[in-house]
């Protein structure tokens, strides 16, 4: 007979070995699948790498895909630290983008630095409020936040759709349902050929790292995550801390939305978040809720996405192959976590 027991802290080297092994196992399994479809898996994988690193342009595209993932994951991380299952990133991104776009479209002539600053603030408020509503009801009536935040996603997406097809529709787009483009003042400038969101993302990683590990509020958040009762005994105002932290969590997602609207799309649209809100849940989780790992994991996912869209044109393999690969990597890495947290003992 075998018995399963929890492991005590494992050294980082072993954890990394397990994770890497899991990724390879996923690549191998997907490889069999690709082989089954009469393609050479090695060729497909190399061309995915080419698609994301092969030229400066492609590499920049990969970074552009990494940026919103990093910022959103940081937001999700704060919530998950408190065991508040915020799966509303998608909606928070949308509402952040909505508020930022509102500013961008209403005050197009405001000088660039001021306009961008206002857009960021309003973006964060939009996302923050969208997360705050479920948090409020959770603190008041202990409403299930997983389901609540999930529902908020759809409302936000329908709202943007409504604007895009209705009141905000561009009159000059010849009937095409799109919202007018922002003026240049509302577009984030580029640094080294990539919009400056990457600087914001890097700065945020450091800020959140310091916030979680070296400030009182950050410490309180961790304590609440460990045990609410402990937090209460220690005199932490649990409700207030949760509400503030969740506002911040949604605010970061909203900021990601602002960046996507401003720098990538130059307007607001329904496709703007492109599933980032959901992927960020996964990346935040796989990073073990550690800000510095988020960069790595988000980059890996961006490579999968970017490489995926490349093989479509290069091999006539449908892009869904990349989704299968993503799914496989996820399933294997999730499964491998078991070996990080538990050990099997022979009785």
């Amino acid at each position: 007979m075998y018995r399963i027991a929890k492991k005590t802290e494992m050294d980082n080297k072993k954890v990394i070995i397990i994770r890497v092994a899991a990724v390879f196992a996923a690549l191998f399994t997907s490889g069999l699948f690709i082989l089954f479809l009469n393609h050479n898996p090695i060729e497909v994988y190399t061309s995915m790498l080419k698609g994301s690193f092969g030229s400066l342009y492609r590499f920049r595209e990969t970074i552009v895909k990494t940026i919103p993932l990093v910022i959103t994951s940081l937001g999700i991380l704060i919530a998950f630290k408190m065991k508040f299952w915020n799966i509303g990133g998608e909606g928070q991104i949308c509402m952040g983008a909505f508020m930022a776009s509102f500013i961008a479209l209403k005050f197009p002539e405001v000088p660039k630095p001021i306009l961008l600053f206002l857009m960021m603030i309003f973006g964060m408020i939009g996302g923050g409020i969208w997360a705050f509503i479920p948090a409020f009801f959770k603190s008041k009536f202990s409403t299930n936040e997983t389901l609540f935040t999930l529902m908020m996603n759809y409302i936000a997406i329908k709202w943007i759709t409504y604007l895009q097809y209705g009141p905000w529709k561009d009159e000059n787009a010849l009937g095409f349902p799109k919202i007018p483009n922002f003026t240049d003042n509302a577009v984030l400038p580029k640094v080294f050929g990539i919009h400056m969101g990457w600087i914001i993302a890097l700065a945020l990683v450091i800020i959140i790292y310091v916030f979680i590990n070296h400030t009182k509020k950050g410490y309180e958040i961790s304590v609440i995550g460990e045990s609410e009762n402990t937090a209460r005994y220690a005199g932490i105002d649990v409700k207030k801390t949760v509400l503030i932290a969740i506002f911040l969590s949604g605010g970061l997602c909203g900021l990601a939305g602002m960046i996507q609207a401003s720098a990538v799309n130059n307007t607001l649209s329904v496709e703007l978040s492109a599933g980032v809100g959901f992927t960020a849940i996964i990346t935040a989780w796989l990073s073990g809720l550690k800000p510095h790992f988020i960069i790595m994991v988000s980059f890996l996912f961006a490579v999968l996405t970017q490489g995926g869209s490349f093989i479509q044109t290069a091999f006539e393999i449908p892009q869904s192959a990349a989704e299968i690969l993503q799914g496989m990597v996820l399933i294997f890495v999730l499964g491998s976590e078991f070996f990080v947290n538990y050990k099997i003992i022979r009785r």
């Binding site: 799966i87 529902m151 329908k158 709202w159 299968i324 399933i331 499964g335 078991f338």
Partner: protein, 310 residues
């Protein structure tokens, strides 16, 4: 536009939702929040369609869809029950995998037509006597066989959960797995079986879309219905009987905006589309205010169970 055909169409639009909702209800009742419904439906839709085209046999097509869904359920169960991975993340991974899988397999199904044998099998069927009931008969009992199967499944599932010993155990596991374990119930086995049954039902819901409702292969044929099903479970407060009404109501909302346009009524389709989710949130809040245990999410929902944690 007459009322009878509107209601009839609502039921047809609600049937895939019903199957997926019932599937998610048993999954959640046994304590697992599976956010992979969309992926499970897509897997069922593509496999059901493929088998249907290859064999022209409706039973094999449905069996294939169920097996595909159950297989997805198995992956999810293995991750969350045996390996104790986080349920939310596992479910999302399953959706990503299922979407990719159906897109990949479905690429060569585009343009294929559902074989005549299947079309014949899924034609509307009048049920004698019941079909003659004025008004209701026309709406409820002049439907295709899949719709009838939906009625039956909802009732069977209700009886299973509320009237059988096994169903009692299922609910106990969902509420308090350690108590269930202590009373000698094999928690893991129950979870595996019920999650896989749930997956099979979601697969059926998908197959209804590709084989009967659409009926042809479209990329992402579910168009978010899997997510609506997750909302519906809350809306109907985890009750299979209410799921019948809830699914048809949501099915009605799905088509009503479209119909209203004919009357030139100035309500945006997108605002109407929002209503189900707002309603679901209101239900979620009301239920937690009332604190009525019967209407709440199972207590153990979302947590993996580890015996040594007791």
């Amino acid at each position: 536009m007459d009322f009878v055909s509107l209601l009839k169409a609502s039921i047809q639009a609600g049937t895939p939702l019903l199957f997926a909702t019932l599937g998610e209800i048993i999954t959640e009742k046994v304590g697992n929040l599976n956010l992979g419904v969309e992926g499970l439906m897509l897997m069922g839709a593509v496999v059901g369609f493929q088998v249907g085209i290859l064999t022209s046999n409706p039973f094999l097509a449905l069996l294939g869809a169920m097996l595909a869904g159950a297989f997805g359920g198995l992956i999810y169960a293995f991750l969350t029950v045996s390996l104790r991975a986080n349920q939310v993340v596992s479910g999302l991974s399953l959706t990503i995998f299922g979407t990719g899988f159906s897109g990949f397999m479905g690429k060569r199904l585009i343009g294929e037509v559902v074989p005549l044998e299947l079309q014949e099998f899924f034609k509307p069927m009048y049920i004698p006597v019941l079909g003659d009931i004025p008004f209701m008969g026309k709406i409820l009992f002049n439907q295709n066989i899949f719709v009838y199967l939906g009625y039956v499944m909802a009732v069977v599932l209700g009886l299973y959960l509320y009237k059988t010993r096994v169903g009692l155990n299922v609910r106990m596991i969902g509420e308090d797995p350690s108590a269930a374990d202590a009373s000698g119930i094999n928690v893991n086995l129950y979870k595996y079986i019920n999650i896989m049954m749930g997956g099979a039902l979601c697969g059926l819901g998908g197959a209804y879309l590709s084989l009967v409702y659409v009926p042809s292969w479209q990329e992402n044929v579910t168009a978010g219905r899997g997510w609506i099903a997750v909302a519906l479970v809350i809306f109907v407060t985890w009750n299979p009987y209410k799921a019948l009404l809830g699914a048809y109501f949501f099915g009605g909302l799905d088509i009503i905006g479209f119909r209203l346009q004919k009357f030139d009524i100035k309500v945006s389709q997108y605002i109407i589309d929002m209503l189900p989710y707002i309603a679901t949130i209101l239900v979620l809040i009301m239920v937690s205010i009332k604190g009525n245990k019967e209407y709440m999410a199972p207590k153990g929902l979302g947590n993996s169970y580890f015996r040594e944690d007791r």
